[in-house]
Each structure stands twice: as structure tokens, then as C-alpha cells.
């Protein structure tokens, strides 16, 4: 497997994110695999941002901090990064080219891309066709800029390895995959209040709403968002809300209302670095226990943590499915690293479940909270029957009760629902095991990419990915851990939250942890070196 890293760095607003996408798309269309990591601060103009792009002839899921090529759009970028080959204003007449073309400064990035293509001995056509699709009506001037950059670069050139593949690949961010999953699940309504890194899903769905006949709306705050979502879902709509930790905290009282009212609800929670405002445009996996426990009182929920866009797509459909079938709160747990990085996929996977609405034609005497053996009360919608949702403990008809036996009856019904759910989840691949070795790396969510890229270099290690955090696949996890010689947890947090959940659910205590809490995601090198350091 050959990998080449390109870093594109510059101030916010100088077009580096766009350049990274143009470059990536030019290459994936020719059979290469590309992973694009975005590192940006919480400001709109200025500061220092960069994209780290890994290009390979084999699937690649992570980035690296040692670049082969660096496009440094400003001075700061030269100070912060280094590479074998550097493109900057020092060795390319960028300003001159822009001036001669009479082009806006915005096309500077394209001049650099042209130079990069020249250095890699790649045909300019590839870049041109990517520019056509990415720049739309601004394609021409960018193509001219790229051609000038291509000509202007004359220093050392090194032909890139061949892609070895004729297959076309998809280039998808985590956010897009969650959005595509929602569309595949038949979403009617997406409601959100902007918050990084959940916002790209709002933008994606807002752009797609007309074409696919659903609505994406923004309300006054997250409390309104989640309450309106429950109202709409009660009326029968397939509804999802999206937020990050702070907004999720505001929603938590209503998550508890979901629990008792059993109105289906899907929550997309994209974690960022906390506490509070924290490091808002960076990543973390520190809200897992919060997602598993948020809301007062006890009630069942599904907390699902995809590790890449393919899983994000498939699991989003699952989240909708479970929420409707069980009258359940489904939380899709993502983070900045998964949601805002771009991945190359051969294709998106087939749906694991059928996205039914689970709305039954109610019989006469319909009871919203019918006591059933499996704990699931058939769902109807207002207009078809008297349908009652309530935040109070209630009888089968949804009337308020306060007496002891009736209270126990309804609590037991919800507990049985959880048992039924646990059974079904065992069939949904709640864990995944990569490789078969005596020692085990345990992790969840977005660390998957770096771990998978490190694994081939780690003899004797297998990787256990936990995809369902609630209900927890205790038996399956326990079975693997009991036969593992060394076990280490990898998590983007300072405490290693999954070890606590595993201990609580299985009794197995994992004491070796590789933790990263500098607001940055793991890279394969971190895993390889880190595991060696912890396990002596």
C-alpha cells in the first residue's frame, strides 16, 4: 500500500477546504482512495486552518501529520508545517499570475493545485474536470489559474504511484452519510438549531429538502427543536433533530418526555470538545456517558456509534427503524472527526432494515399504551383514533395515574420493551471484530479509521469496535474480552468512558487505556506507538 500526504494550509476563508475537495475528487475519479481531514478554528476569516489529505492506491481512513507535499498559502503555514516539497509564494509567482489573469485572489488555491499536479506528473485534465463539477460557473477562471500554476512549477517532480483501479469511488463526509441515511429512511422533517459540528447535516438536508419532499427547519433553540420534533412525530412524521453537546444538554428534559410518552425520536449528536464551549471546532468522544444517561428517570434508548460514513448511512436508517418500531429514542453518536472528514468508499452499503413507518390501522378501542407481552404498544396517529401522549405516568389509555400498581405496570411494560430491543439488536451487528489475534484494541466511533490503518502494522492485535452503546451488547463483548490476552481501550477522551460502561455491563475491567484529549483525532502513528507504550 502506497500513501502520499498532501497538506493544504492557510488562513480561514482562503479556499483551502475547497482546494482539498477539488484535489480529492480529481483523484478518486481515477481510482485513488483519499481521506481528507479538516483542521479549522472557530472563526470565519484569518487564523490558521489546514487540510491533511492522504492519497493511496488502497482504502485509507486516516490522515498523517508528516506531509510529502505542502501547499502553504501564507507565512503562518510555512511556520506550522513542513514537507519534502513545499509550494508557497516564495517559490511560485502566484501574485503575478493572478494579476496577469485579472482574476480575484480567490483563485490562488487553484494556482497551487496546478503546481501540485505538475510536481506529481499528473495530467491537468483530471484537475480540470474536477474543477468543472466543483466550481460551476467559476470553473473557467480556476482552470486558467491551474494551468498557469502547472506551467510555472519547474522544480523537482516525482511521479505518483498508479491507482491500480479502474473502479469509480464515492467521496463522502460523515455528515453527508448521515443525511443520506435520513433520506433513505424516508425522513419527513429535520429540525435543528445551528451548532458545530452538527450543522453540516442541517445544511445538507436543507439543500436536498425540495428534491426529496421533506422539510428541514430551524427553530428558536434546541428546547423548541426537540419538543416540536416530538409533536411532529406524534402526528406521524419521520422526524430527526441534530445538535452537539450543548444543545443536547438543553434537550435532555424532553428526552425524558420521549421515554415516558414513547413517541419515536431520532437525535443526531455530533460531539465536539467540551466542557461548555470547549474547543468548538475540534473533536472528542467525551459525551458518550451523557448520551447513554441523559434525561431523568429510567427509560430504554438506542445509542448507536458509527465509525465511518458507510456505517453512518446504514445506522441512520436503523435509528429511524428502531425509533418507530419501539416508540424509542435513537441517538446517533458522531463527532467532529467523523462528521467533517471526507472518506472514499467503493459504495454505500445496502440497508440493514426496512424503513417502515410502523403505523398500524388502529382497531376499535385503540389504546395508546396497550400492555403487551413484548412491551411494544402498537402505534397509531391522531386522526385515526384517540391517540394520547403524556409526560405523566399513565394507564393504557394515556390517562394520568398515581397509584402504585398502575405505576409498576407501565414501568414493567417499558422494561419488557427494552428486553425485546436487546434481542433484536443482537441481530444488527452491534459489535464488529477486525482481524483475529490474541490481543484486543477496544474502541468505538471515529477512532475506527486510524485503528484500521494501524492494524496491519500491529502483529498480534485485533480490533473490537462497539457500535451499539445502548442497549449494550454485553454478552458479545464479554466473550471476546474473556479470551483476549491484552486488552487496551482507545478513546478520544481523558477518562476512557467505554471502560466504565464495559465494567458496568460485563464486569470486565479494562485498565490499559490509550487516551487522547488534545481536541485532535488519533492518527495511525498514535495508535502504533501509543499501544506499545501502554502495554510493555
Amino acid at each position: 500500500m502506497s500513501v502520499l500526504n498532501v497538506t493544504i494550509a492557510g488562513a480561514a476563508g482562503s479556499g483551502i477546504a475547497k482546494a482539498a475537495i477539488v484535489l480529492s475528487k480529481a483523484l478518486i475519479r481515477k481510482g485513488y482512495y483519499v481521506f481528507n481531514y479538516r483542521d479549522y478554528g472557530s472563526l470565519i476569516r484569518g487564523g490558521h486552518n489546514f487540510n491533511s489529505i492522504s492519497i493511496s492506491d488502497k482504502p485509507v481512513f486516516s490522515h498523517s501529520d508528516s506531509a510529502d507535499f505542502l501547499i502553504a498559502m501564507d507565512k503562518q503555514s510555512l511556520e506550522n508545517h513542513s514537507a519534502e516539497t513545499v509550494f508557497s509564494h516564495n517559490n511560485l509567482p502566484v501574485a503575478e499570475i493572478i494579476k496577469q489573469l485579472g482574476a480575484p485572489a480567490m483563485v490562488t488555491n487553484s494556482v497551487f493545485l496546478g503546481a501540485l499536479f505538475s510536481a506529481l506528473k499528473l495530467p491537468l485534465d483530471w484537475l480540470n474536470s474536477s474543477m468543472d463539477s466543483e466550481f460551476g460557473k467559476h470553473a473557467d477562471i480556476n482552470k486558467q489559474a491551474a494551468a498557469r500554476g502547472y506551467e510555472a512549477y519547474s522544480a523537482s517532480k516525482k511521479e505518483i504511484f498508479p491507482s491500480n483501479s479502474k473502479a469509480k469511488h464515492m467521496f463522502v463526509s460523515g455528515s453527508e452519510a448521515f443525511g443520506l441515511g435520513a433520506i433513505a429512511a424516508g425522513i419527513d422533517l429535520y429540525i435543528a438549531y445551528p451548532m458545530t459540528p452538527a450543522t453540516p447535516v442541517l445544511h445538507f438536508l436543507a439543500a436536498k429538502q425540495k428534491e426529496h419532499d421533506f422539510a428541514a427547519i430551524q427553530l428558536e433553540n434546541e428546547i423548541a427543536v426537540v419538543n416540536a420534533a416530538l409533536g411532529a412525530s406524534y402526528a406521524g412524521a419521520n422526524t430527526m433533530v441534530g445538535t452537539s453537546g450543548g444543545g443536547f444538554a438543553l434537550m435532555s428534559e424532553t428526552l425524558s418526555l420521549q421515554g415516558i410518552s414513547e413517541i419515536p425520536l431520532v437525535v443526531y449528536l455530533a460531539q465536539r470538545t467540551g466542557p461548555a464551549t470547549g474547543v468548538p471546532t475540534y473533536t472528542a468522544q467525551a459525551d458518550m456517558k451523557f448520551a447513554v444517561n441523559a434525561g431523568h428517570g429510567e427509560f430504554p434508548r438506542a445509542v448507536i456509534a458509527p465509525g465511518d460514513p458507510a456505517e453512518a448511512f446504514q445506522r441512520t436508517v436503523e435509528a429511524f427503524y428502531l425509533s418507530r418500531k419501539y416508540g424509542l429514542l435513537s441517538i446517533l453518536l458522531s463527532d467532529k472527526h467523523l462528521s467533517e472528514s471526507n472518506f472514499t468508499l467503493d459504495k454505500l452499503p445496502a440497508l440493514s432494515v426496512k424503513p417502515d413507518r410502523f403505523i398500524a390501522k388502529p382497531s376499535v378501542g385503540y389504546k395508546s399504551y396497550e400492555i403487551t407481552k413484548n412491551g411494544i404498544s402498537p402505534r397509531a396517529v391522531p386522526g385515526q383514533a384517540i391517540v394520547r401522549g403524556t409526560s405523566y405516568e399513565h394507564d393504557e389509555l394515556g390517562h394520568t395515574i398515581e397509584d402504585a400498581p398502575s405505576t409498576v405496570k407501565m414501568v414493567d411494560k417499558r422494561k419488557r420493551k427494552l428486553e425485546t430491543l436487546k434481542l433484536e439488536i443482537t441481530k444488527l451487528n452491534p459489535i464488529k471484530l477486525y482481524g483475529k489475534s490474541e490481543n484486543t484494541i477496544v474502541s468505538w466511533g471515529s477512532t475506527k479509521g486510524a485503528i484500521l490503518d494501524a492494524l496491519p502494522h500491529m502483529a498480534d492485535w485485533q480490533f473490537l469496535q462497539v457500535c451499539y452503546l445502548s442497549p449494550f451488547p454485553a454478552e458479545q463483548v464479554e466473550n471476546i474480552l474473556n479470551t483476549s490476552s491484552e486488552t487496551i481501550l482507545v478513546e478520544n477522551s481523558s477518562t476512557g468512558q467505554l471502560t466504565d460502561i464495559i465494567a458496568e455491563q460485563t464486569g470486565v475491567r479494562i485498565t490499559d487505556k490509550l487516551l487522547k484529549y488534545d481536541a485532535r483525532p488519533f492518527m495511525p502513528q498514535d495508535i502504533m506507538k501509543g499501544v506499545k507504550k501502554v502495554i510493555v
Binding site: I223, V225, G231, G236, V381, G383, I386, T390, S391, T400
Partner: protein, 240 residues
Amino acid sequence: MVTGIGCHAKLYDYIGTSGIYGLHGRVLPVSMGVKLGNKELTVIGFGGDGDTFAEGSSHFLHASRYNVDMTMLVHNNQLFALTTGQATPTSPKGFKGKSTPDGFFERALNPLGTALINGASFVARSYALDPKLSELIQQAIKHRGFSLIEIIQPCITFDDTREFVSSHSYQTKHDTTDLQAALKLSQEWSYELDASTKIPMGLFYKQSRAVYTDNIPQLDGPLYKKKHTPNLIKIFDEFY
């Protein structure tokens, strides 16, 4: 029907219709959601003054702007009753509740004025013991847009103001399409209960304007009847 939490919300169990007995303060967003989910439903929200003007104040501001086609009935007893008698944003000056034993001295909120300024398209005040109230409620339900009725409804346990309200209120007679006149009326009573108090009752303002769902064709019809059959192959195409 959608209710909040408070004495007013007990109504949910007295009326056996479809609805959600929601959380304290959240009547308006839940009601809005129901209407977005199925705009053919008639949606009526019931809140208390604590519920709507304190806990749910942010939603109250925006509901008028959105102009969702729904009716909001606020049962204003000028106190938190279910929590045994504390002051709300519309308690009368000097009110001695359990949390304000020395009296309540804050300035009251002006909910009707707030609603008017922010675009509510039907704004009224009435009195629980006024036999004409039911007709006003019917009018509010029929109105297409956000209809707000503040219903003065004395709490006979913690602060029985029935006699006072009956003797100090009067029916307004003005042009109900005149926003300025309505705004003036909304400022006439600041929730104080002194000898000079005059409480205007009746329809303050009515206006016809586009409702929230008018601008979003994707919200047409009950959404659960939609059959989404997305062509995934085609959708994925743009990612290649």
C-alpha cells in the same frame, strides 16, 4: 390538544381527546410540531401563565412570528398554582406568595403587547366566568393563524380575585384591525389590582396573513401519508 404542566393542564385528563400532556413551558413548540406533522389537525394549546410567560417565554416570543395555524389558550391565574402559590411574570404588584412573603415588586410582563408586536394574528383577552368566552374560543379556532386568548381565571385557593376582576373589567369596542388601538389596549392593565384598575376584555386584534406552513410545500397534508421512495442510486451519483 397540547397542555403544559400546572393546574390548568389537568384539563388533559378531563377532555378525552387526542393530544400530548407535555412538559412545563413547552406547549407551543409541541403544538407547532403537531401542526407541521399533520396540518389537517386542529391544534389547541393550553398553558398557564407560569408555563407560557416564564418557563416557556422564549417559545412565546417566537410563536407570534411563526404564525402557525393554531390556538393558544393561556389560563392566567396570576400565580403558579400547582406549586402552591408563587409569583409569576403576571402577578399583581404587592402579591404575597410563599416565595415572596414581603410582596412581589417586579414589573409585570406585557404578554398581549408582546404577541401583537411580534405578529400574532389573533389576540384576545377574556374571563373564565364570562359566558361569551366559548364563542370567542370558537372564533380563535376558526381563525387561520396563531390565535392567542389570555383567559383571566382566578385561583380560588391561593388568590381569589373573582369579585375584583368582575367589577373592574369591561368589553372593548374598537376596530379590531387597528394594531395601534390594540397595542394601546394591551398597555391599559399592568396586572395590578388597585381601585383605578380597568381591565379590557374581548378581541383586541385580528389580521389575516400567511401561516407558517404556507411557505413550505413539503409540509402539505399529513406527512405520515407520504410514500418516500428515494432513488438512492441517483442520489449517490453526485458523490462519485
